[in-house]
């Protein structure tokens, strides 16, 4: 049985106004992503890949066209509705981790878990299991200032999946990490995709990372220049950059 569409973009364009200048970040994008895919969006700086990710994640609105995620058309949702949509459907992993500095590692994950409205007892267990999943159970009570970049990013991943979202969006998740730490992060994302069936869309300028994807989308000057399906993606251990 074919996987259902989780993301569908139809004739989507995005134009920004920077002062008096208009910048066409995306031009007439048509795209479909199935559930369970590990998608890597590639492109040089300024190609529109982050903009594309933001539109899918509902943190930006298209200038024209339709964005449908998990069956919900995002265009006409109000800000409150978009916030609710993100709460239920999307997990974000940011380039700069964006952990709340005054909360411990466990509390950062708990913050997201509480949004899913499961009862207290379950939440503790879920959060502990997530911390174990990312290999940081022993660091639960540490604050972000006491963690390395790689550790922070793994906590950020745990936080992103704490709500059990349908879609995980990652914006340059290895951008600030060394190779070792970056590989650990990618391994986690790969596990989430393969073992737990999470749909992952990852934006990067690092072409090497595309080798672990099942679907690679290349952007150039705001347009999709290539869409490539990868039947046998390589393992994270085989990556080298």
């Amino acid at each position: 049985m074919p996987n259902k569409n989780i993301v569908k973009l139809m004739n989507v364009s995005k134009t920004y106004k920077v002062g008096k200048t208009e910048v066409k970040a995306l031009r007439n994008i048509n795209l479909e992503i199935d559930e369970g895919e590990f998608v890597v969006i590639l492109g040089p700086s300024g190609s529109g890949k982050t903009t594309l990710l933001n539109l899918i994640g509902g943190i930006d609105r298209p200038t024209s066209g339709d964005v449908i995620v998990n069956g919900v058309k995002l265009n006409n949702l109000s800000d409150e509705q978009l916030t609710e949509f993100r709460r239920k459907n999307i997990g974000f992993v940011f380039q700069f981790f964006n952990l709340i500095p005054t909360l411990t590692a466990k509390e950062n994950v708990m913050l997201a878990a509480e949004l899913s409205k499961r009862d207290g007892e379950d939440l503790e267990k879920i959060v502990d299991s997530l911390l174990s999943f990312v290999g940081l159970k022993d660091f639960a009570n540490r604050f972000p200032s006491e963690l390395s970049g790689g550790q922070q990013q793994r906590i950020a991943i745990a936080r992103a999946i704490a709500k059990d979202p349908a879609l995980l969006l990652c914006d340059e998740p290895t951008g600030e990490l060394d190779v070792e730490a970056g590989k650990r992060v990618l391994s986690l994302l790969k596990s989430l995709n393969e073992e737990k069936g999470k749909t992952i869309i990852l934006v990067t300028h690092n072409t090497v990372i595309a080798d672990i994807a099942t679907l690679v989308i290349r952007l150039k000057d705001g347009e999709i220049s290539e869409v490539k399906r990868v039947d046998n993606p390589i393992g994270v251990d085989e990556l080298s950059w």
Partner: protein, 795 residues
């Protein structure tokens, strides 16, 4: 290249200011308010002092005045011949009634002065009409307060009631007198002219009406050399030794003079203290703003350092923000203060009836104010600027520095609360945010509490005045009407008033000025003799025996001044006699701190007046007051009739005029409270924009985010309110204790009091500010560009 860099650095300065214009403006406003307060009120104080000193000089204010029972006018020549005497003026003055309308009479001081020439001492300046014509008989000149209260003008008719007889006079003119810039109707009560007026009549006219030809009972003297005044007074006393001298009062000891001096000095002390507090708040706010700015620009600082900018150039760049705030704030503050001080001076001289309005600009005050403003800003900025020295380019340019810089921890209060409540993760954010920047949290609490302190202390001063008057007229002065006679009257005769229609109760009393002596100390005081079981004159005995005959009861102030103890014998000096009497008890008295109480019997015995009194307290039926008053004024030898409600109302009206400037201070306090709260809350939102963006991206609703901010603010406000209220009480107590020490001695014993309603209103105001700021914050959070901010990792 370097020159271009400097210019570019200057450009950066102005662009940074523009991007934070709201904060910058608020800080400028804080400095403006502080400098305006100091500069305008300092100059107004100098102007007022100059105005009234000029008035006293121009109007030949007496250096001392002798009050005596009676003396022939011819005695003046002997006094003139005393070496140090510059000028002498004899007058005859009595208390009498004034008919202001058909059904209303008030009391007044009628002063007979020379009509053929203007007085050589205690002169008057004609504001409307003219001085007496030579030989004027049925004419008068009204002192300005009563004229203003009742709208009298030159040419109007005016009616005096002397010994029950009505005398119609033509108002020749309206005048201001240095003696009566502040008019006292009693030893303690300031009058606006509504219940008490001063009227000048030709001396010979008054002498003939009273059958006291060539008799005077006041001698006003100016001297050549003030340093020899004591000697001159002694010489005058020996000239007058055959005449019954009641008292000699120096010009500087006259109640009106002292009240004026006190008011102006108090005014200045409040202004000084307020200014310092406002500028302290400004310095703290600048500290917070600059610290935040420097942290947010640490990458830029790193780049500047990496480029080769010297430390002092970077420090000076950031110091320039504060210097600019000081420059703008102080300049505008100082410029506005010039006009404000003139307006203040004019207002106060008009309210007080000072006939001269001397205003001038004091460059030294302007310069000092400017420097104080500038210095406060620089002091606030020094520490944050010096912190740029600690920043090394390699460290501060790390991208996720924000999470490294904020050292998270679980505060103690959270650990305590966790023992009793299950705190959600989100609520922990509010609590922990309080401690993420201790200096900012503490300075916000301090800033808000100082603003509250300004507000509460001013309320404390005003409420204490109003409350004292209310309590005085409720618990002490319980009569409806009080009548005083110019001669001793038989008690039975006075009690006959009880038979009049509308009278519920009559209690006779005795009142007289005297001196009391203990050890080597002598104090002027008021002696009041009341029935032992008086219900119309409250007497609060705080120590000693019950109110009874045979002894004296004195106020705490007298006990303190004379170092007395219960059971000691003190000496009453009155009517050239010295009478020893035992101290039976200590009492509390609000109006006039130097009051002594005796039972009527004891007073009559001591004064040797048999069964006579010179006053009566009256309780009347509602609606009968004006008829009773009219009848009283028709009695012979009635000196004055006071209606309690009118006296109370007049006190409150006078206080309202004198409390204009506390209200101005109050408004400034409110402005500062607004600026501190707004500034802090705005910074809290701005600096956490990326965190808010993250939370919004995670799907946390805006309402929840702003609620967390609100909780955080409330957690700061609660200790600020407690601290502010406490400080406010202490400061208002300080104001009442210290700079009204003089006041307490002479006029009124203020009981510290703050109306709970005013406290409530202040807290409501603060909450309103928080709500407004939160509404603005909510709008700011709504405007967050999520897609842009989640890419940033700056604090």
């Amino acid at each position: 290249m370097i020159l271009m860099s400097y210019k570019t650095l200057r450009k950066k300065l102005f662009r940074d200011i523009f991007s934070r214009k709201a904060q910058f403006l608020i800080l400028c406003v804080t400095v403006i308010v502080g400098i305006l307060t100091y500069s305008s009120l300092t100059m107004a104080t100098y102007n007022l002092e100059n105005s009234y000193e000029y008035a006293y000089k121009e109007l030949k204010y007496a250096d001392f005045t002798i009050y005596l029972e009676a003396a022939p006018q011819s005695i003046l020549k002997q006094i003139e011949e005393i070496t140090n005497v510059k000028n002498v003026e004899g007058r005859l003055s009595i208390e009498a009634g004034i008919e202001v309308s058909e059904d209303r009479q008030i009391s007044g001081l009628i002063i007979g002065i020379n009509s053929s020439r203007k007085p050589r001492v205690n002169d008057i300046v004609i504001l409307d009409g003219e001085y007496f014509h030579d030989g004027d008989k049925n004419a008068c000149i009204l002192e300005q307060h009563i004229a203003k209260a009742y709208g009298y003008k030159a040419g109007d008719q005016f009616t005096l009631i002397i010994n029950g007889s009505k005398i119609n006079l033509l108002i020749r003119g309206i005048a201001a007198s240095a003696e009566f810039l502040i008019t006292f109707s009693e030893v303690f009560q300031i009058s606006s002219g509504y219940t008490y007026g001063v009227v000048f009549v030709p001396l010979d006219f008054l002498q003939s009406r009273l059958g006291l030809f060539n008799i005077i009972n006041e001698i006003c003297v100016t001297v050549q050399d003030k340093s020899l005044i004591e000697q001159t007074i002694n010489e005058v006393e020996s000239v007058l030794k055959s005449y019954n001298v009641i008292k000699i009062v120096k010009g500087e000891d006259q109640p009106g003079y002292k009240a004026l001096k006190w008011d102006i000095e108090g005014f200045y002390e409040i202004a000084e203290m307020f200014t310092m507090l406002i500028l302290l708040v400004a310095a703290m706010e600048i500290y917070i703003m600059l610290k935040r700015l420097i942290i947010s620009q640490r990458k830029e600082i790193g780049i500047l350092k990496a480029m080769g900018y010297k430390r002092k150039q970077i420090i000076f760049h950031y110091l320039s923000y504060a210097i600019l705030i000081g420059l703008i704030g102080s300049t505008i503050g100082v410029l506005i203060s010039i006009k404000f001080s003139q307006v203040t001076t004019y207002y106060y001289t008009s309210v007080l009836g000072i006939p001269f309005h001397l205003t001038k600009i004091y460059p030294e005050v302007l310069i000092t104010s400017f420097l104080i403003g500038e210095l406060s800003c620089i002091i606030g900025a020094i520490l944050p600027c010096l912190e740029t020295l600690k920043m090394y380019p390699s460290e501060i340019m790390k991208p996720y520095l924000s999470t490294l810089m904020i050292k998270g921890r679980v505060p103690l209060i959270e650990k305590i609360l966790q023992k009793f409540f299950k705190l959600s993760t989100f609520s922990k954010i509010s609590i922990r945010n309080l401690f993420r920047n201790n200096v900012r949290t503490l300075s916000t609490i301090l800033g808000i509490s100082l603003s509250l302190m300004l507000i509460v202390s001013m309320f404390g001063v005003m409420d204490s005045f109003y409350n004292t008057i209310e309590v005085g007229y409720k618990d002490y002065e319980k009569w409806d009407i009080r009548v005083r006679f110019s001669t001793w009257k038989a008690t039975n005769e006075v009690l006959q008033i009880k038979e009049w229609e509308g009278i519920i109760k009559v209690e006779p009393f005795i009142v007289t000025e005297a001196s009391i002596e203990y050890g080597n100390e002598v104090l002027d005081c008021l002696i009041i003799g009341i029935p032992q079981n008086s219900t119309l004159r409250g007497l609060k005995i705080v120590k000693g025996s019950e109110f009874q005959s045979g002894g004296i009861f004195v106020t705490k102030d007298i006990v303190k001044k004379l170092n007395l103890d219960i059971g000691k014998n003190i000496t009453i000096k009155i009517f050239n006699r010295n009478i020893s009497i035992k101290l039976f008890g200590i009492c509390e008295e609000l109006f006039y701190a130097r009051t002594c109480f005796l039972t009527i019997n004891t007073a009559q015995k001591i004064l040797g007046i048999g069964e006579s009194v010179n006053g009566a307290y009256i309780k009347s039926e509602t609606g009968k007051l004006s008829n009773i008053r009219k009848k009283l004024y028709n009695l012979p030898n009635v000196e004055r009739v006071d209606v309690k409600e009118e006296s109370r109302k007049e006190w409150l009206d006078v206080m309202r005029e004198f409390t204009v400037f506390p209200y101005v201070m109050l408004i400034m306090g409110l402005l500062i409270a607004f600026s501190v709260t707004f500034n802090t809350l705005t910074i809290n939102v701005i600096e956490r924009n990326y965190e808010h963006a993250t939370l919004l991206t995670m799907g946390i609703p805006i309402k929840k985010i702003t609620r967390a901010l609100f909780i955080e603010t409330i957690l700061m406000i609660i200790p600020a309110i407690i601290l502010g209220m406490g400080l406010g009480f202490m400061v208002s107590y300080y104001f009442l204790e210290v700079f009204t020490e003089q006041l307490t001695e002479e006029f009124i014993v203020l009981k510290p009091y703050i109306n709970p309603l005013n406290i409530t209103q202040t807290i409501i105001f603060l909450i309103a500010v928080i709500i407004i700021t939160h509404y603005i914050s909510k709008k700011q959070i709504r405007k967050i560009n999520l897609s842009k901010l989640i890419k940033e990792a700056v604090v």
